[in-house]
Amino acid sequence: MIEASNLTKRYGSTVAVNDLSFTIRPGVVTGFLGPNGAGKTTTMRLILGLDNPTAGTVTVNGKPHAQVPSPMHEVGALLDAKAVHGGRSARNHLLCLAQTNGISRRRVDEVLGVVGLSDVAGKRSKGFSLGMSQRLGIATTLLGDPEILMFDEPVNGLDPEGILWIRNLMKALAAEGRTVFVSSHLMSEMENTADHVIVIGRGRLIADCSMVDFIARSAGQAIRVRTPQPEALARAVAAAGGRSAATAEGEAGELEVSGLTEQRLGDIAFAHGVRLHHLAPSRASLEQAFMELTADSVEYHAGLPETRQPAQIGWEN
């Protein structure tokens, strides 16, 4: 459990984190989303006590991180996979970290096996690829078998195999009842991993809700259809009270329809004798919704229909 209340961090005149309050719960993967420079890394640094907050507090299992008796057994954090001394071997790197918390050599070798680095354990880490560095960083977080794990942009620069590995690892860790907190600037990545999302923009909290709710709201009711008779379908949709528009790609015969359910749209097309070659809910708008959301949080907040907010969505500005 990580709890932040009114967390604020200023660097000179720049406000990196602005009055942020949230709770990260165990047993789920919590995605931490925001564009580059939104304050995600700063927030994680504040959680770990690397930076001192200008105002507000943040606790890890009820205590400031610096007061946690055995930090590696409670929090494992990977902020920057390249933040290692490249001249040290992978095993010695892990060993020197393990020793601070009284963790055995045996555990070091075990964790090297878990992340698949046993074969290169004696090699200096400056020769590691980004994927190997990420694995070494993840090994660091697992050493103390902690309840809380934090990863800052863990899939950045990884190949598909590495991404899949990290995704499954995070899900497995959460399934074991741990608190998993992972940041990303890609909505599409989080969609496949996170159960809960916290969205920030310019250091402010924009959304704190479950992924299901976020998708339901953001994806809206848009339906993508392809038909050889687009004009006829557009007239029929308008007559039924829906809206249609050409898709963003401008493909001939493709329309994006909103204001109607999939079932109703199919019935209307049938009634008007319009042939459909494709009918599916539009998912492309999720990434777009996220970008709009974070591009200017204030405007988005103003345009948000209040009635559609489920109770657990906390919108702040």
């Binding site: 770990l48 690397l50 930076d51 001249g87 970290l97 918390n101 055995s104 698949g116 590995w165």
Partner: protein, 282 residues
Amino acid sequence: MAALTASPARPRTVPADGYRAGVAGTLRSEFTKIRSVRSTYWTLFLLVAAGVAWSIAYCAGEASRWASMAPQDRLGFDPTQSSVVGLALLGQLVIVVLGTLTLTSEYSTGMIRTSLTVMPRRGVLYGAKAAVLAAVALAAAFVTSLASFFIGQALLTRTHVSATLLQPNVLRAVLGSALYVVLCGLFAFGLGAIIRSMAGAMTAAYGFLFLVPQLAKALPSSWYADIDRWLPGGDVVNAITNTRQVNSNPHLFSAWSEFAVFGAYTAILLVLGAVLIRKRDA
């Protein structure tokens, strides 16, 4: 990918009740850090090599010139200083590198963030680093000073003035040259904590140890005479390694007092570094 399925089992490494990560583990950790990078071995090798090489070159040279040396020069000759002063003069150059690297390499690589995440009690981390640096430097410097002394005296045997450890002030010079090197390492370590960049900390360390004493010589001689004993570096080496009173600079304090002056500067830097590392964002 074998790792895919192997998520770690539930807590197996949970510490005993009341366990608190602290000084003992951090000392072990810092020792692992210092022994697992090549720069440590290079600098310590250079330290030993420089000290011993000086002793061989200087003492062999003096021994061969002995027959033709003037009586006053023979009288002023200090066989102990001849053999160990090289460790202090050259060793300070070398140990400053190790001292600054100890902390600044963590900042330049970003390792400091990982270190502080696993050991967030910054004072403990800082103290353990300084202690391990001091212990490693002391071991290397003490071995070097003993080796330099005995090799030097062996080379000086035919002058019949070679020293033994039991003669007055000899042990002090042998120990002092090693301790001076350790202090220089800590001096640089403190500067590293304050400045956090390797280039900056090394420049500052060499500036204080070499440039300031040289610049002070440009002062009017009466001022210099008053100031000399308070300077870090410079004449401290002479005061600490000298076993005769003949050559001694009259403006300096006694050997251990000069040592205390330099120790005080080092302590100030270490305390300042400790305050800053606790206060600043990592």
